[in-house]
C-alpha cells in the first residue's frame, strides 16, 4: 500500500505491506533505527514517536493509520546538527545509562512540554508513566525534563 506523511519535517512517500506497524515502517522500511523495538505490546514505551505532537506507540499503530500525519522520531529532534534542549539536558544531567529507553523518554517528554511548558514533577512522572527504564531509577530523567522545560528557564 502507498503511504504519504510528514516525517521529521519533510514529506515522505513510500509503500509498505498492509500488516506493517509504524515501527516496522521506520526501522525496516526507512532504516531509522533510533526508534527501538522493546516489548512489542505497547507497554515499555521505547518505540514512542510523536504523531501531530502527541506520543504514539509505533509498535501498536498500523502504518496505514499515519497517512497524512506529522511524525517525529528521535532523529527529528536535532536541528542543523545541534541537539534539542531536552537531549542536551539528558546528556548534561546524566539522565541516560544504557540508552535503550532514551528515544521514547525524549519524545514523551517533548509532547508534555509542548502542552505544559512549566510542568510539575508529578506531571512529568505521569507523562513518562508509560516509559520504562531499567537503569536510572528515573530521578535524573525527571530532573532533566524539568531542567529543559521552557517555562522553567
Amino acid at each position: 500500500m502507498n503511504l504519504a506523511f510528514t516525517l521529521n519535517g519533510r514529506p515522505c512517500v513510500t509503500d509498505a505491506p498492509d500488516h506493517w506497524t509504524v515501527l516496522d515502517l521506520l526501522r525496516d522500511g526507512l532504516s531509522l533505527m533510533g526508534t527501538k523495538y522493546g516489548c512489542g505490546e505497547g507497554v515499555c514505551g521505547t518505540c514512542t514517536v510523536l504523531a501531530d505532537g502527541r506520543p504514539l506507540r509505533a509498535c501498536l499503530v498500523l502504518a496505514a493509520h499515519v497517512r497524512g500525519r506529522d511524525l517525529v522520531t528521535v532523529e527529528g529532534l536535532e536541528s542543523d546538527g545541534r541537539l534539542d534542549q531536552l537531549q542536551t539536558a539528558f546528556a548534561e544531567l546524566g539522565a541516560t545509562q544504557c540508552g535503550f529507553c532514551t528515544p521514547g523518554m525524549l519524545l514523551s517528554a517533548k509532547a508534555l512540554l509542548a502542552e505544559r511548558p512549566a510542568p510539575t514533577a508529578g506531571e512529568v512522572r505521569e507523562a513518562l508513566s508509560g516509559n520504562l527504564c531499567r537503569c536510572t531509577g528515573y530521578t535524573k530523567i525527571i530532573e532533566a525534563v524539568l531542567a529543559a522545560a521552557p517555562g522553567a528557564r
Binding site: 498492509d18 500488516h19 512489542g40 505490546e41 509498535c59 499503530v61 498500523l62 508534555l112 508513566s129
Partner: protein
C-alpha cells in the same frame, strides 16, 4: 517481530465497512486505534486474514451533543475525550475515568468504541459510563440499534455484538442535577496498569444530606464491568453516615464476583472494593457538589 500477515481494508464509509464485514464474516476483524487488536495478533490470540480499519470514517470521530446527551463517535480517541471542554465541563466523571486509562501514548490511539467492543472487565471508562446509564450505538446488517450499557457487557471479553455488527458510538445522558461523582482506580503493580479495582460513583443528596440517588460502577471485580445495584439500594434513603457507607461498601464487595489473577486474588479484590468504595463515598459526601 512482525505481525501475522493480513490484508487491510480501509473503507470510506460506514455502509462500505458493514458490507465488507458482512462479506468476510468470520475472516475479518475490525480495527479502530489498534491498541487491543494489534497485541492480540502479535501474541497469536487471533489470526485474521483481513482487518477492516475504521480510520477513514471521520464522521465517527465526532464528540458533540445530541439534545442534552453527550454523543461520542466510536473512533474518538481517549486523548480527544480527556481534552474535550464539553466532556470536562458536562461529564467530569467520564473525563476523569478516561484520563486514567493506561498511558498518554495509548490514549493517543485508543478509541472509546474500541474500548467498549473489547469488553474488558478492568476498563476505566466502563464504570463511569455505567453510572451515566450510557447507550452503546451499534450498526449492522439488521440496521442500527442502541444497547443499554449494562446489557452490552455480556461476558468475559464478550460484548453484545452480533456477527457483522460494529460499534459506532456511545450516547451519554447528563448527570442528574446536583450530582457529585468521582472515579478512583487502584492498581497493585504500577500506576498505568489496568485497575485491580476501579470504582465510579455518582450520588445525589437531598437538603438533609440523605442519599436520594446512588449509582456505583465497578471495574475489574467480575467477568464484566458491573453496576453494584444492591449497594446502591442500601445507600438510597440513608443519611450517608460512616456506618451506612461502610455497609454499602460491604454489600458491593459481596455482590462482586471477582476473579483471581496475577494482579491480585479474589479475596484481595473484595477487600479493595470495601476500602476504595468507602473512601470515594466519604469523599463525595464531604466534598462540594
Amino acid at each position: 517481530m512482525r505481525l501475522h500477515p493480513f490484508r487491510l481494508l480501509e473503507p470510506e464509509s460506514l455502509p462500505e465497512a458493514l458490507d465488507a464485514l458482512g462479506r468476510l464474516d468470520g475472516e475479518a476483524r475490525v480495527v479502530s486505534g489498534g491498541t487491543a487488536i494489534v497485541p492480540m495478533i502479535r501474541l497469536g490470540l487471533v489470526k485474521p486474514d483481513r482487518l477492516i480499519s475504521l480510520h477513514r470514517l471521520s464522521a465517527l470521530a465526532r464528540i458533540g451533543l445530541d439534545g442534552e446527551a453527550l454523543e461520542v463517535g466510536a473512533t474518538a480517541t481517549l486523548a480527544d475525550l480527556e481534552r474535550s471542554g464539553l466532556v470536562r465541563d458536562g461529564w467530569p466523571l467520564l473525563a476523569e475515568a478516561v484520563r486514567r486509562v493506561a498511558t498518554p501514548a495509548i490514549r493517543t490511539s485508543g478509541t472509546i468504541g474500541g474500548n467498549l467492543a473489547y469488553a474488558e472487565a478492568a476498563s476505566d471508562p466502563a464504570p463511569a459510563l455505567l453510572c451515566h446509564d450510557a447507550e452503546v450505538r451499534v450498526a449492522g446488517p439488521g440496521g442500527d440499534r442502541a444497547v443499554p450499557i449494562a446489557a452490552f457487557f455480556r461476558g468475559f471479553y464478550e460484548a453484545a455484538l452480533e456477527p457483522g455488527e460494529i460499534v459506532t458510538g456511545v450516547r451519554v445522558p447528563p448527570p442528574p442535577q446536583g450530582a457529585r461523582a468521582g472515579y478512583v482506580k487502584f492498581t497493585s503493580r504500577s500506576a498505568e496498569d489496568r485497575p485491580l479495582v476501579g470504582v465510579a460513583a455518582l450520588i445525589v443528596l437531598d437538603e438533609a444530606g440523605r442519599c436520594r440517588e446512588a449509582r456505583i460502577g465497578l471495574g475489574g471485580v467480575a467477568p464484566t464491568p458491573i453496576r453494584a445495584g444492591l449497594a446502591e439500594t442500601a445507600l438510597e434513603g440513608e443519611a450517608m453516615s460512616d456506618a451506612a457507607v461502610r455497609a454499602a461498601a460491604e454489600t458491593a464487595a459481596q455482590e462482586a464476583q471477582p476473579l483471581s489473577d496475577l494482579m491480585g486474588s479474589a479475596d484481595y479484590r473484595r477487600e479493595m472494593i470495601r476500602v476504595w468504595l468507602r473512601r470515594l463515598l466519604v469523599k463525595l459526601r464531604d466534598g462540594a457538589a
